[in-house]
């Protein structure tokens, strides 16, 4: 129990206690002073104990009758006064205690306390997520309970109620509190040893920067993941030595660049985010002129990507709020609009991108463009996640959901660090390399391979670490043998090996393994199960290795 709560309770109980003591004292004293008459008519004086006994049961309205002898009229007059007097005292006392339970300050102190305890009892590494919304919800959904736990702070108590109703398992401790407040961050466990990091993806760059600064001061070892939407902000965060700055618009810009210049690298990246590993016809970005509608943060990011790819484009300044105010509609496409589309050259263009902040406008812009030029490739920005169905139904070639991109990137960074690393490394290669990799993966593991990350240590690869400790030479190729028949190969590919700070992309199969190596493995469920058996079971491993040495 927190000290503060005890003090609040005690202070509030002061007056009710006083009232009860005084009413009791006066009633007892009166009974002692008034002379009584016993059963034989002799006068007697009540002792303090008699009076105390009588008042105790009278005041609490239990009532046993008159003791020790039947009262005379003087006593009865006093008792009738005392009944009302003490009962009022009791009721006041009970009322005060009830209202104390309902007291806002006390409730707040109690819930702060229980939140603090919940956080304290988390024994896995955990992330503090600031702000609860659809982005952070999807991060919580995927992250919570697997390798990490999550703690949430939000200013708005409705959001916290919403979170509580979600019934996450394992439980997500959540509390109403200002994320820029140091005290709240401390309560949320920023100083705790197992606090892995803090995730701040607020829309407002200023808030993110404030949080990053405070968190950095409070705990240097913390992994701080922040969102930045402008170049200056990005540089500011870099200067603060934050490595994990997530800029959704930057990601979109890069995706467009790679989509146009190196589609297989793009494909590998998208596959890491759940796309199937096959370049479909509609995934190809067209060559030719591009039209961008909307010169906001998204429009500028697309512009950057196109410029880098060397594609011809026009960008149209389009303020969605002003448009809605001026025309009083969210449907794009009156004569003026058609004319401006034609002026931008919609008939000669190969692609149109609607990047305004209004979903309906984005949809209608693309519809009108399609009417004028049925062959045009369409891309849209989607702002609100709940409109997903309309967007899917309207046959847009590519949809960018800023929130989803941000959530995916954050999740991959935290829970799949090797996949994140792979994307970075792959970007340094050229498209031919990527094409070879894609074909190889398709040949070995099929169209829709899964990827797994593992670290070779006692927990994940018991048998293998035993062998390695004995000084055995084990190569990556040895681990690819099937446990059913050691001359057969498992359908798995080692995509990336990380040893300390060194990263080996597509490691050589003759490479010798060391304890602590991290592997990014592409496979299907069945083959990966086999792999896990081999590295964990001594007999399986010896069978597989026996072939290698014989």
């Amino acid at each position: 129990m927190n000290e503060q709560i005890i003090w609040i309770v005690l202070k509030r109980l002061r007056t009710p206690f006083l009232v009860i003591i005084i009413t009791f004292a006066i009633s007892i004293l009166g009974l002692v002073l008034i002379p009584g008459t016993d059963n034989n008519g002799n006068p007697y004086q009540m002792t303090f104990f008699d009076a105390f006994y009588f008042v105790t049961y009278m005041a609490s309205t239990i009532g046993f009758g008159e003791a020790p002898y039947t009262f005379n009229y003087e006593q009865r007059m006093w008792v009738s006064f005392a009944v009302y007097f003490t009962v009022i005292g009791w009721f006041y006392g009970i009322g005060a205690i009830v209202s104390l339970i309902q007291d806002e300050a006390l409730r707040k102190a109690l819930s702060t306390n229980s939140f603090r305890n919940q956080v304290k009892h988390i024994n896995k590494p955990f992330y503090i997520i600031l702000g609860y919304n659809s982005i952070t919800k999807s991060i919580i959904d995927r992250l919570n309970g697997r390798d990490y736990r999550v703690v949430v702070l939000d200013k708005d108590d409705k959001k916290i109620d919403e979170l509580i109703l979600e019934n996450f398992y394992p439980d997500v401790p959540a509390f109403v509190g200002d994320a820029t407040n140091q005290k709240m961050l401390k309560i949320a466990g920023i100083h705790q040893k197992n606090c892995a990091g803090i995730i701040s993806l607020f829309e407002d760059d200023m808030v993110n920067s404030k949080i990053a600064t405070i968190s950095k001061l409070l705990n240097k070892k913390l992994d701080i993941i922040v969102k930045a939407t402008s170049q200056q902000q990005l540089e500011h965060f870099r200067s603060m030595d934050l490595k994990h700055v997530k800029n959704p618009f930057d990601i979109i810009s890069k995706r467009i660049y790679y989509g146009i210049t190196a589609p297989h690298i793009w494909l590998l990246e998208m596959w890491m985010y759940g796309h199937i590993l096959k370049l479909k016809k509609r995934d190809h970005f067209p060559q030719g002129k591009y039209i961008i509608y909307g010169n906001g943060r998204m429009g500028k990011a697309i512009k950057e990507g196109l410029e880098k790819a060397g594609v011809e484009y026009v960008i149209k300044d389009f303020d969605s709020q002003k448009y809605i105010q001026d025309k009083n509609t969210t449907i794009f496409g009156d004569d003026d609009d058609m004319e401006s589309l034609l002026k931008l050259g919609v008939k000669e263009s190969s692609c149109i991108i609607a990047a305004t902040q209004n979903d309906l406008l984005n949809l209608t812009i693309l519809n009108k463009a399609k009417q004028l030029n049925p062959k045009i490739f369409t891309m849209a920005r989607e702002n609100a996640l709940d409109d997903l169905n309309i967007f899917q139904a309207s046959k847009i070639n590519k949809i960018y959901i800023v929130e989803k991109i941000l959530a995916d990137a954050t999740y991959n960074y935290i829970a799949r660090p090797l996949a994140d690393l792979f994307i970075q490394e792959a970007r340094k290669k050229d498209d031919e390399w990527a094409e070879v990799i894609v074909h190889m993966l398709n040949n070995i593991t099929g169209m829709n391979p899964m990827y797994f990350e593992t670290r070779l240590n006692d927990d994940n690869a018991y048998a293998l670490t035993l062998e390695l400790q004995e000084g055995e030479n084990i190569t990556l190729a040895d681990l690819r043998r099937s446990r059913a028949d050691r001359n057969e190969l498992l359908h798995i590919v080692f995509l990336l090996l990380k040893r300390g700070d060194e990263v080996y992309l597509m490691p050589d199969s003759r490479m010798k393994l060391e304890i602590g190596d991290e592997l990014l493995i592409v496979s299907d469920e069945e083959n990966y199960d086999d792999f896990e058996y081999i590295v964990n079971n001594i007999y399986e491993l010896e069978y597989v290795l026996g072939c290698a040495t014989s």
Binding site: W7, L10, K11, R12, L18, I21, A25, L29, F48, F49
Partner: protein, 126 residues
């Protein structure tokens, strides 16, 4: 000077003086000690205790502790009296000395709290 300070200060001193009034006299003769004074001492002590509830300062906590000690002693004294009178049906010398010495202990606790209270008051004066 605030009202609450005056109230709690006066109750602390009153608790001590009333208790002294009960304690003063031959410790073997019960008639020299009034049961009304014991009653008053108990009530005043309880009030002094309640007035210190919820005081977060260091001194407040110590004062609360001393007056809880005084309460326990005085209530024990009254309990011994009632027990001797009704259960043993005679108040012998042993019971009387126990009653008086228990209240003597409470008096010590009262004196301690008054000294602390005075000390704090003097310290706060510049």
């Amino acid at each position: 000077m605030n009202m609450h300070k005056i109230m709690s200060g006066s109750f602390f001193i009153l608790a001590m003086t009333v208790n002294f009034g009960f304690f003063y006299g031959d410790p073997t003769i019960l008639i020299e000690h009034s049961s009304y004074e014991l009653f008053a001492a108990i009530i005043v002590n309880l009030i002094a205790t309640v007035l210190k509830l919820g005081d977060r300062t260091q001194l407040g906590a110590v004062l609360l502790a001393t007056s809880i000690v005084a309460d326990i002693q005085l209530i024990a004294s009254a309990t011994v009296w009632a027990f001797a009178m009704y259960v043993m049906s005679s108040v012998g010398t042993e019971a009387i000395t126990a009653i008086i010495s228990l209240s003597g202990g409470a008096l010590l606790a009262n004196i301690v709290s008054v000294i602390l209270f005075i000390g704090d008051t003097l310290k706060s004066k510049r």
